[in-house]
Symmetry: C2
Subunit: 312 residues, 2 copies
């Protein structure tokens, strides 16, 4: 089924304990669509870049079946730029620079032939922009997944809640879930957030895995224990891309299939962090993905049969 992705296409400059980069290609829509390309045959993206955005990067995306018809190119402006430095634990980072550039006046336009969208992924952007995309679709998608961040909770909470009420799945990290709900317990936080409207909530815990909630169920997927996390940038978006890509291709939005989608998303994220930026995702093979998913199965599977009571 058709997948539409809205989000930033950007430049990042990253510093980690393992090294630092010049400006490299990043952005939520970039990671999401590269990740989703392992599952869906075509990803339509809506985003904006400046004239400084390299043609090679666009060709790389197109090679991964990303349709750039909805990518606005403003020749005389500059691409969104973010720069950050990760601390030794890789779980915290300082933002060194944020240059909005083209993003400051981003007004997403949805090409006519994107209108048959069944699955919509709203990458992190101003909630008002995310809402505009939902309202710009003539037919409501079968599933809308939304990512956001604490920044919007600080400066646009009402607009954020209003947009959250329109989506099916919200994807945020543990600190954001605590901030949005005012609850420390993630179980309590989840129930409060689900009361805002979404049917499903994903709470990402970085190296500690991810939780999927609906009102009755909870599912947990660990992060794969890795020897080295080289660069966490884009891991959350890569997770989201694998999650919605798997759902879009299978067309099944049951809780059981979402559990599989969380595992595929986690597997994709585990690749993302192995290299700087999108590097690892650009050359990923289906065999590698399959091997990785089988590592997840081995990591968590156990056989306890409770049919006849506890067997001891």
């Amino acid at each position: 089924m058709s997948l539409l992705v809205i989000g930033t296409v950007a430049f990042d400059a990253i510093e980690t304990p393992f090294g630092k980069t010049d400006k490299i290609v990043g952005g939520a829509a970039t990671f999401i669509s590269l990740s989703a390309s392992n599952f869906v045959k075509k990803t339509n993206i809506v985003s904006v870049v400046g004239g400084d955005f390299p043609k090679e990067a666009m060709e790389m995306l197109q090679k991964h079946n990303v349709n750039l018809e909805g990518l606005e190119i403003r020749e005389n402006e500059k691409t969104f730029f973010w720069s950050g430095k990760y601390h030794n634990d890789m779980n915290t980072r300082d933002t060194l620079a944020t240059e909005l550039n083209v993003l400051e006046t981003f007004d997403p336009k949805i090409p006519a032939n994107y209108q048959d969208c069944d699955f919509l992924m709203l990458g992190n952007l101003a909630p008002a922009v995310q809402k505009k995309v939902i309202n710009g679709l003539h037919k409501r998608p079968k599933l809308i997944v939304m990512d956001t961040m604490n920044f919007w909770m600080d400066i646009a909470l009402d607009e954020l809640k209003s947009t959250i009420s329109m989506v099916d799945v919200l994807s945020i990290n543990d600190e954001e879930a605590r901030q949005l709900s005012g609850e420390y317990s993630l179980v309590k936080a989840a129930q409060k957030i689900l009361a805002l409207g979404p049917q499903y909530l994903i709470i990402k815990k970085g190296e500690h895995g991810a939780l999927l909630f609906d009102k009755e169920n909870v599912f947990f997927a660990p992060a794969l224990p890795l020897e080295d996390v080289f660069d966490p940038t884009g891991a959350g978006d890569t997770f989201a891309g694998g999650f919605i890509g798997y759902l879009a291709e299978t067309g099944d939005i049951s809780f059981n299939n979402m559990k599989r989608a969380v595992i595929y998303g986690s597997a994709m994220a585990s690749f993302c962090v192995e290299k700087f930026g999108t590097e690892r995702l650009e050359y990923l093979t289906q065999t590698e993905l399959e091997d990785r998913v089988s590592q997840f199965i081995n990591l968590v599977q156990f056989d306890i049969s409770l049919v006849d009571g506890i067997k001891v």
Copy 2:
């Protein structure tokens, strides 16, 4: 198979965001043996208390099939006492008081009819004391599990490493694994620690679950997401008690059975934190335990078949 537990039997005074206690019964051997009692028919413990330790607490342990023949009672001395205050996140705590009392000169004596020990659990104690217990057994147990803490890494590292080299399973938390190995990555830390001698390593991550490593495999069990964590005191020992209790009763020390044992240990720990001290463990039923284990199964189980490649 027979289980021998060495560790403290103590008084705790605990303060959490949910309330505070006077002196209540605690100690590693107490939590371990109460937890193990859900699996094994008899637990032999070796420990020491003062004349101030309440008869009712000893009777409560005996009701849970804990054999106190190896519990030395020094009538004119006082029981080991620890007092701590948990921070709001429940993951960190301040020690308010530590009174070693009888523990200062604890010299464990193993009763003759404890000598047929197949499974030995070394609760956290000075590594020299733990080693003395191993050397005091005429026949090496089938499995020795050892718990320890950062304190011994700070003041008795060589003795600690020497004792670690004698055991089969080491159980420590993530920060301790990092300190002991000098590696931030838990995967690298595990391999360095396994090189010290143990065949298996359990890394406990509190609310983030637990990892079981051997040289080739890794297994992950989440902690159950709970609405409230009331008091984390004893959770690690309760985990260890469920782990070794399950292994002792099944007599199977394969990696596959250790995975089940980790799940049972995690289920036991999830009860422990629901009330202050040992309260929740004292009145636990087999039905409640079975329900909890089935929650763990639901929490992590998913069905992805890779037999014919990735199904999308």
